[in-house]
Each structure stands twice: as structure tokens, then as C-alpha cells.
């Protein structure tokens, strides 16, 4: 019962878009699958040059289709996948029902989204590529990552005082 309640609370937590809705806990070696998935993801980020500051500049200057193609085809693939999961009632490999939490509209999506956009154009990276840039040997991006952690912390500290 408490687990179900926890889960509902988590779904309603407006700040967490990536909740863990597995009932059973992932233990030990089982967690490695997420590492492997991350490795594949990181390779794609570098090989498709998504981690490039220049590709982000091309995108915002509307001078290349590349990034729009990447994001667009990722979304189309995602939409088709989720529709298939829903219509075919596909379950997780552990037999659990797949839960996709609804996102609640808040002012933060506008204000925060806008602030992130400003930062995205300067750093040339959203959070995913930050990690891949560091792995690629651009160690100075660690400074950007620490600043991003500071930004996250400051948001958390003052979240109840900001319009939402």
C-alpha cells in the first residue's frame, strides 16, 4: 500500500520528469543494463556530432537541418513506440504494467524553459551532451557541469519562492 502511495506521490511531483516507476527495485548487476544503454546513447551523441557546439549554433541559426532531423526523427520514433506499447499492452520484462506519468502544466515550463534555452545556446549542450563532452576529453566542461549542478541546487533551494 505504501508503495502504491509513494508511486502516486512521485507521479504528482511536478519537478521530476524521469520518475522510477518500477515496483520492484533494480538490484546489483541488473542496474548494468542502464549503464549499457547510456554507453550506446553516448556513442550516438558523439558520432552524430550532437555534442558539437557548432551543430547547436547551426540549429539556432537555421543553417542546417541536421539537429532538426535528429530531434524530429527521435520524437517520431518515440511516438510510434509509445503508441505500440499502449495499443499492444506491452509490459516490462518483469511483467509490470508500463506507466507513463502525465505532465502537469506549470509556469516553470515557460520561465525555466526560456532560461534553459539561453544557456543551451551559450554552452552548446543540454545536460546529456555535457556528460558526453567530458567523456570525449573536453575536461573543461566539468566546470559547466558543476555550474549546472549549482543551478539545480539553487533552484531546489528557492523552488517554493518562485512562481509556478
Amino acid at each position: 500500500m505504501t508503495q502504491v502511495k509513494d508511486k502516486k506521490e512521485q507521479i504528482q511531483d511536478p519537478h521530476c520528469v524521469a520518475p522510477n516507476l518500477r515496483e520492484d527495485h533494480d538490484k546489483g548487476l541488473e542496474l548494468l543494463k542502464y549503464l549499457v544503454l547510456g554507453v550506446i546513447f553516448g556513442i550516438v551523441f558523439v558520432k552524430a556530432e550532437i555534442i558539437s557546439w557548432f551543430r547547436i549554433q547551426e540549429m539556432f541559426r537555421l543553417q542546417s537541418f541536421h539537429m532538426y532531423g535528429v530531434i524530429g526523427s527521435a520524437v517520431v520514433t518515440g511516438i510510434i513506440s509509445i503508441q505500440l506499447i499502449k495499443r499492444l499492452n506491452i509490459r516490462t520484462i518483469h511483467g509490470e504494467e508500463i506507466i507513463i506519468p502525465d505532465k502537469v502544466f506549470r509556469k516553470g515550463q515557460i520561465i525555466g524553459g526560456f532560461i534553459f534555452g539561453l544557456g543551451w545556446a551559450i554552452t552548446g549542450a543540454c545536460p546529456g551532451p555535457l556528460f558526453a563532452q567530458i567523456g570525449s576529453g573536453y575536461t573543461v566542461v566539468l566546470v559547466t557541469l558543476i555550474s549546472a549542478l549549482a543551478g539545480t541546487w539553487v533552484y531546489g533551494r528557492f523552488s517554493d519562492k518562485l512562481p509556478n
Binding site: 519537478h15 543553417q63 520524437v75 515550463q109 544557456g119 549542478l149 539553487v154
Partner: protein, 193 residues
């Protein structure tokens, strides 16, 4: 096999990369009922390292270790791709972008990131303050305030047809366009370009 490796070493086109990224969504759902989102990892790191009694960071972050492993994997993947599967040729950047950036003071177009900005020497200068400290802060603050980044909102959110995610994505782009077309030139002049 050699041909395959040669092919992998070339830059991957969008129609290969995009669907692979999109498939992360069902992969995470099917492997463990996980919702795709990367900026959440920043919150979990704060919760693990400096919770400081703040309610926003007071939760069981250990349950979210999967997310931290995922981003660790992204870093390792970046390492593998760069040091073992690197493209032998230099990156091809659109002529128009090169011309625009050259007028802003960027001179090196041969790497994924411009060496005019991304060096350790720049860290303690005005350049570093703008591109790393201020930029990074806005990425961390903004994504958490928005409740997600490109992965959580633009890809996962829109894939599951959530209109608040579409709103967030539109404002990511508005911020990016404003920075690129209006603020970047004066800011770069200010930091010495």
C-alpha cells in the same frame, strides 16, 4: 568487418541517430518502467551530495541510481566514440554558420567544440565566466525549473503527447534563438572576442 568499422567511423546521419535516440524511450520503459530524462541526474547528484535539508532534495535518491548509471554510461560512450571510433576527417560545419561565427571572433572550425572557447586557460577569464559558469548555471537552473530538458520534455514528453512538454520545448527554442541572434554578439564582445 573492417568496412563496418570504417562506416561507423564516419559521422552518422540524422536518420540513423534520431531513431536510435527515440528508441531509448521504449527501451527504458520496457527494461524497467523508467521514464527517459537526463537533467534529473543533476537533481539526484545534488540530493546525494548536498541535500542541506532542502525538501526538494529530500527523497530516496538511491532508488534513482539507474539514472546516474545512465549518465555515467553517456560519458563512457563519449570516451569510446572519441578515442576508438573517431571520424578521421574534420567536422564539416555549414559555410553560413562559419561566416557568422567568424564575424563574432571564432577562428577554429576543426573540432567538435571551438578551441577559441573550450580550454582550461579560459576558465578564470570573462570568457569562462560566460560560457561555462553562467551558461552551465542557466542549463541547470532552467531545466529543473522547467522540469526537464531536451530528453525529458522534447523527446519523452512530446513522444507521450504531453502538451506541457511541447510548451517547454517551444520556450527552449525561444531562449536559444534570442541568445543566438540578439544577446550573443554583445556578450561575446563584452568577454573580449
Amino acid at each position: 568487418m573492417e568496412q563496418l568499422i570504417e562506416w561507423i567511423k564516419q559521422p552518422w546521419p540524422w536518420y540513423v541517430a534520431g531513431p536510435m535516440i527515440g528508441l531509448t524511450v521504449p527501451a527504458l520503459l520496457i527494461l524497467g518502467n523508467k521514464t527517459f530524462g537526463i537533467s534529473s541526474s543533476l537533481r539526484h547528484i545534488c540530493a546525494a551530495c548536498v541535500p542541506a535539508g532542502i525538501p526538494f532534495f529530500s527523497y530516496n535518491w538511491r532508488k534513482e541510481i539507474w539514472n546516474l548509471l545512465f549518465v555515467l554510461g553517456v560519458g563512457i560512450g563519449g570516451f569510446i566514440a572519441t578515442f576508438f571510433l573517431a571520424n578521421p576527417d574534420t567536422i564539416v560545419i555549414s559555410e553560413a554558420t562559419q561566416a557568422d561565427l567568424a564575424s563574432l571572433g571564432i577562428t577554429d572550425f576543426t573540432h567538435l567544440l571551438p578551441s577559441d572557447i573550450f580550454t582550461w586557460e579560459a576558465v578564470f577569464t570573462a570568457k569562462g565566466l560566460l560560457f561555462f559558469v553562467l551558461g552551465g548555471f542557466m542549463v541547470g537552473f532552467g531545466t529543473r525549473y522547467a522540469g526537464g530538458c531536451t530528453s525529458g520534455h522534447a523527446i519523452m514528453g512530446i513522444s507521450s503527447l504531453q502538451w506541457p512538454s511541447l510548451v517547454a520545448t517551444i520556450f527552449f527554442m525561444v531562449g536559444g534563438f534570442l541568445m543566438t541572434h540578439v544577446l550573443m554578439e554583445p556578450l561575446m564582445k563584452l568577454v573580449g572576442f
